[in-house]
Amino acid sequence: MPPAGIWIDGLVQSCIYMTMAFGMVLVFSILGILNWAHGQFYMLGGFVVYYAVTAAGIPFPLSLLISGVIVGGLGMVVEKVIIERLTGPGYGLLAVTAATMALIFFFEGAAGMAFGLMAKGMATVLPGVLDMSSFSISYQKIAVIAFTLIIMVAMYIVLNRTKIGKAIRATAQQPDAASLYGVSVGRVSLIVMGIGCALAAMAGGIMGPVQSVDPFMGRIPMIMSLLAIVIGGLGSLTGAIAGGIILGLLNSVIAYKISYFSEVVLFVMVIAILLIRPQGLFGTGAK
C-alpha cells in the first residue's frame, strides 16, 4: 500500500484532470467539438495568476478569479472568431480540430515569446504544511482540493438551479428544440466556451504554486484529461469526473510502484477499456 502522500498527490492530480475534463466535456456537449487547446488555456491561466500575484501584488484568490475572467474572455474570442466560423454546415470536424490543434502551438509560442521559456515558481503563495501525525500535506495542495470541491459544487448549482444552466442542459440535449423555445444556441456556445476556459485557467492558477508555471505546462494535463474523457465516456459529465479521479490516483500510485512507465500502463488500461466498452464507462453510446 503506497504511503498517504502518494494518495494525496494523486488526489491533487485528479482534481486538476477532473476540472479540465469537466470543462472539455461541457464544451463538447454543446459545440460538438473537443477544444484541443484546453491545456493551453490552463497554461495561460497559470501565467495570469503568476503575474497578478508577483507583479501586481493582487491576493491569490482574487487573482484566480481574474485569470478565470481574462482567459474565459479569450476562450469566448476564440469561439467567436475561429470555432464558430469553422463549424457551419459543410465543414466536418476536420477544420475545427485542426484549428484548435494549431492553437495549442500558437498559444505555446506566444507564451514562450511573451513570458520566456524558464519555469516560474510561486512557492511563496500559501506557504506552510499541515502536519498530521502520520503524514503531512501542504496548504497549497489543500487549496487545490478545496478549490475543486468549490468549483464542482458551483458548477452543479449553475447547471441545475439557474436559468442559463437550464439553457445549457437543454441545448446539450436537443439544440433544435432548445432554439425553438427561445434559447440562443450561439450565445450558449459562447458562454459554455467561456466557462470551460475559465475553469481550465483557474485550475492552472491553483496548480501554479504546487508545480511551476511554464509555456509547456499544459500538455500533460491536456492529454490526461483527454484520456479521462475517453475512459468516462465522451459527452458524459459524470464520466469526466470519474475518469479524472481514476486517472489521477492510478497515475500517482502506478508511478510510485514502477516509476516512469506509469503513462504506458495507463495507456494500455485505456485501450483495454476501449476494447471492452468502446463508449467509455459512463457513455451512453453514439454521440
Binding site: L34, I82, R85, L86, G90, Y91, G92, L93, L94, A95, T97, A98, A99, M101, A102, L103, I104, F105, F106, F107, E108, G109, A110, A111, G112, M113, G116, L117, P215, R219, I223, L226, L227, I229, V230, L234, Y260, F261, E263, V264, F267, V270, I271, L274, L275, P278, Q279
Partner: protein
C-alpha cells in the same frame, strides 16, 4: 481566333506540362547546385511530404490521426537498431521499418478504429507520447535521450557506377526523389481507384456507406496501415539522413506539423497538397528556426494554419491556388466540387 482555340484546346495540357517541367527540374536539381543546405531542405521536405501523404490518406476516411510522428519514430528506431546494434544491412532494415510500423498501425487501428472519431484522435495523440516516453526510458534498447548514431547505407555498385551515400547529400536526394515518386504514385492510385472512393464514402456518410455494405472499420484500418507503412519508411530514411535517432526528433510537435503540412497544402489533393505543404512549411520552419526569437516557429505555424483554415476553407489549401491560377489564365468560369465534400462519388 485560331491561336485562341488552340490555346483553349490545350488548357488541360499546359498545367500538366508545367508540372512535368517542374519534376524534371527537381530531378536535375543537383546538377544546378550541390549546396548542402538547399538539398537538405529539399530532402527533408520530401520525407515530410511522404508522412503528410499518409496523414492525408487517413484523413480521407474521416479519421484524424495525431500520432503520425510516432510511426516515423518507430520506423527510425527499427532501422537504427537493426543496422547499428544488430549489424543488418541498411536496405533490409529500411523495409523492415516499414513493415513493423505498419504492423503496429494495424494493431492500434484494429483496437481503436472500431470507435473512430474523437477517441481515435485522443488515442493516437497519447500513443505518440507513449512512444516518446518508452524511447526515452528504455535505455537498454534505444539508448535513451542520447540516441543512436546511425550509419550511412553501404555503397551500391551497379556495373562500374557506385552510389556512395557517405560521400554527400546527392545520393540521399535521389533516393528521396525516388521515394516521393513511388509513394506519390501509390497514393494517387489508391485515391483514384475504387478503394479511394470507398474511403471518401466512409468519411462523407458512414451510415450510408455501412448500409451499402462497406465495412467501415476495415477500410479505416486499411488506410491507417498503409499510412503507417509509408510513414515508417519515411521515418527510417529521415533518421539515416539526419545521422542520429533520439526520442526528441519525433514528438507531438512533429505529429502536429505533419497535420499542418496537409492542412496548409490542402487535403483536396492527396499528392500535391502534402508536397506543397511540406515544402512551404519545412522551408518556413527552417528559416524561422534561424531567427533569434524562441518559439516563434510555434506561433507562426499556428497562425498560418488558422489563417489557411479561415481563408482557404474546406481542404482547399495552397494546392487549390494552382487550379485557381490556371482558371484565371484561361478565364474559365467553372463550378467544381471538391473530393470529400460530395456525398457519393462513383468511380
Amino acid at each position: 481566333m485560331i491561336i485562341g482555340e488552340h490555346y483553349f484546346a490545350n488548357r488541360n495540357l499546359i498545367p500538366k506540362v508545367v508540372i512535368g517541367a517542374l519534376v524534371v527540374l527537381l530531378a536535375a536539381f543537383p546538377l544546378i547546385t550541390t549546396d548542402v543546405v538547399t538539398l537538405s531542405t529539399l530532402i527533408s521536405s520530401g520525407i515530410w511530404a511522404i508522412a503528410a501523404m499518409g496523414f492525408t490518406l487517413v484523413l480521407r476516411t474521416g479519421q484524424f490521426s495525431m500520432g503520425q510522428a510516432a510511426f516515423m519514430a518507430i520506423g527510425g528506431y527499427v532501422s537504427a537498431i537493426l543496422t547499428v546494434r544488430l549489424g543488418i544491412p541498411y536496405w533490409p532494415s529500411f523495409l523492415a521499418a516499414g513493415v513493423i510500423s505498419g504492423l503496429i498501425a494495424l494493431m492500434i487501428g484494429l483496437i481503436v478504429l472500431r470507435a473512430g472519431g474523437i477517441s481515435f484522435s485522443i488515442i493516437t495523440i497519447a500513443f505518440g507520447e507513449i512512444v516518446r516516453i518508452v524511447a526515452l526510458n528504455w535505455g537498454s534498447v534505444t539508448k535513451g535521450a542520447t540516441g543512436i548514431v546511425t550509419r550511412a547505407p553501404a555503397p551500391i555498385t551497379i556495373g562500374n557506377f557506385e552510389i556512395n551515400f557517405a560521400a554527400g547529400v546527392v545520393p540521399y536526394y535521389y533516393f528521396m526523389f525516388f521515394l516521393v515518386i513511388v509513394s506519390g504514385l501509390f497514393f494517387w492510385q489508391i485515391d483514384r481507384t475504387r478503394i479511394g472512393g470507398t474511403f471518401r464514402s466512409v468519411a462523407a456518410n458512414p451510415i450510408l456507406a455501412e448500409h451499402l455494405g462497406v465495412h467501415l472499420m476495415w477500410y479505416r484500418v486499411i488506410a491507417f496501415t498503409v499510412a503507417g507503412v509509408f510513414t515508417g519508411l519515411a521515418g527510417a530514411y529521415y533518421v539515416t539522413f539526419l545521422g542520429v535517432m533520439n526520442p526528441l526528433i519525433f514528438d507531438l510537435w512533429k505529429s502536429v506539423q505533419i497535420m499542418m503540412m496537409t492542412i496548409v497544402g490542402g487535403w483536396s489533393s492527396i499528392v500535391g497538397g502534402p508536397i506543397i505543404g511540406a515544402a512551404v512549411l519545412y522551408s518556413l520552419g527552417n528559416y524561422l528556426s534561424r531567427l533569434p526569437i524562441p518559439n516563434i516557429q510555434y506561433l507562426v505555424f499556428g497562425a498560418v494554419v488558422v489563417l489557411v483554415l479561415l481563408f482557404l476553407p474546406k481542404g482547399t489549401g495552397l494546392v487549390d491556388l494552382w487550379g485557381k491560377f490556371w482558371r484565371k489564365v484561361f478565364r474559365e468560369v467553372e463550378e467544381y466540387e471538391l473530393p470529400g465534400e460530395s456525398s457519393q462519388e462513383d468511380e
